[in-house]
Symmetry: C2
Subunit: 199 residues, 2 copies
C-alpha cells in the first residue's frame, strides 16, 4: 500500500477549492506524502458529452452545488464569493503548475489561484492575475508564464489529463492512493486514512 | 426552523440504501422527526435527458460508485451484494410506501425492500418479492399490493415526484429541512444537525 495521496485537481472545479486549501494540513497530520496532479476536466467532460460544466448543464444540480459549497466553506471557515464567471479557464494555471511541479512554492501557488477564483472573483485565465499570484509566492511571473507555454509543458499536461481518464477519474477533486480512487472533497479524510493504512 | 427531516428516497438508488438503513437511528439520537418521502427518479432523470441511471450512462462514474458504495457499506457494517440487475424497478415498492404512509411498519418495509435489492439481489419490481417483505413486517401482502395499484395511490406518488422536482431535488437520497436541501448519504448527519438547530 502506498503512503502517497495523489491530489488530482482542476482550477475551475468548485469542490477542489476547499480541498486544495486544506489538503496539506490533512496529509501532514497523517504523516503521508502528497503528490499534486493538475489536470483538465474539459476533455474528460467532453468525452461524456458535455461542452460545459455539468453544474451549468444541469441547473438543479448547479443550484444545489453552490448552496452546498457555501455550507462546506462556512464549516471550514474558508471564504467563498460566488464567481461572476463559471467555469473559469484553468488551463494557464494548470500549465504553470505542471511546469512548477518541483518548485517549493507550488502548493502556495495552487492555493493562491483557487483563492483568486473563488474568494476574490478574479479571472484566473488572465496572465496578469496569474502573474500576481506568482509574485505573491516569490516566483518570477514573466519566467513562469513563458515556461508554461512551452511545448513540453503543454504535452505534459495533456499526458496527465489522459492519465486521469485512464485512472477512471471523471471529476475533481479526486484522490488516488495506489490504485484506489476517491472522489470529492468529502472523501479527502478517507483517502488519507487509506494511505496511512488506517482504512 | 423545522425539526423534521424529510427523507426523499428511491428504491433503485444505491446510496439511498445505506441512508435508509441508518436514518431512523440517526434522527432518533438527535431527537428530530422523520418524514419518509418515496419518489421516482425516472421522471427527474428523463427531464435531464437520461433514459437510464447516470451510473450506467456514465460508466466511469458507475464503476467508481460501486467501489465507493462498497467502502461506505463496509464502514457502516451494512451487507452489500452487487445487484445482478441495475437499476431495478422501484415503482411498485414506492406505491406501497405511499399507500402505507401512516402505517407503523412503513420504515421496516422500506428497509426490507432495500435489503432485498442490495443485500439479497432480489427483484424488487416483482410482486412476490414485495409480498414476502410485507409479510415479514406483519402487513397483509394481497391487501397492500392491491391498494398500491389504486388510482389515488398512483396519483399521490406522481404528485410527490413532481413536488420533488419543484423542491430542486435531482438525485437520491435527498434530505429536506424546511427549505434547505441536502443531497447524498454523506449529508445525512448535516441535515439532522440542521433540523436540530445545531448547524
Amino acid at each position: 500500500m502506498s503512503a502517497t495521496v495523489e491530489f488530482w485537481f482542476e482550477f475551475a472545479s468548485t469542490y477542489s477549492y476547499p480541498a486544495a486549501l486544506r489538503i496539506e494540513d490533512v496529509v501532514r497530520a497523517a504523516g503521508v506524502e502528497l503528490d499534486w496532479r493538475p489536470f483538465l476536466l474539459g476533455p474528460i467532460f467532453a468525452a461524456q458529452g458535455w461542452q460545459d460544466s455539468p453544474f451549468n448543464v444541469y441547473p438543479a444540480k448547479g443550484r444545489y452545488m453552490w448552496r452546498d459549497l457555501a455550507r462546506v466553506c462556512a464549516d471550514l471557515d474558508v471564504p467563498l464569493r460566488h464567481p461572476s464567471q463559471f467555469p473559469r479557464n484553468g488551463l494557464p494555471a494548470a500549465r504553470v503548475s505542471v511546469a512548477a511541479a518541483r518548485e517549493p512554492w507550488l502548493p502556495a501557488f495552487v492555493r493562491g489561484v483557487y483563492r483568486a477564483n473563488f474568494a476574490k472573483d478574479r479571472d484566473i485565465g488572465d496572465a496578469e492575475v496569474l502573474g500576481a499570484v506568482l509574485a505573491a509566492v516569490g516566483a518570477e511571473p514573466a519566467r513562469w508564464l513563458e515556461r508554461a507555454s512551452a511545448a513540453d509543458v503543454k504535452d505534459a499536461l495533456r499526458t496527465q489529463t489522459e492519465r486521469a481518464a485512464d485512472h477512471g477519474i471523471f471529476g475533481a477533486p479526486s484522490f488516488r492512493v495506489g490504485t484506489e480512487l476517491f472522489w470529492g472533497n468529502d472523501r479527502l479524510e478517507q483517502a488519507v486514512a487509506w494511505a496511512s493504512g488506517a482504512a
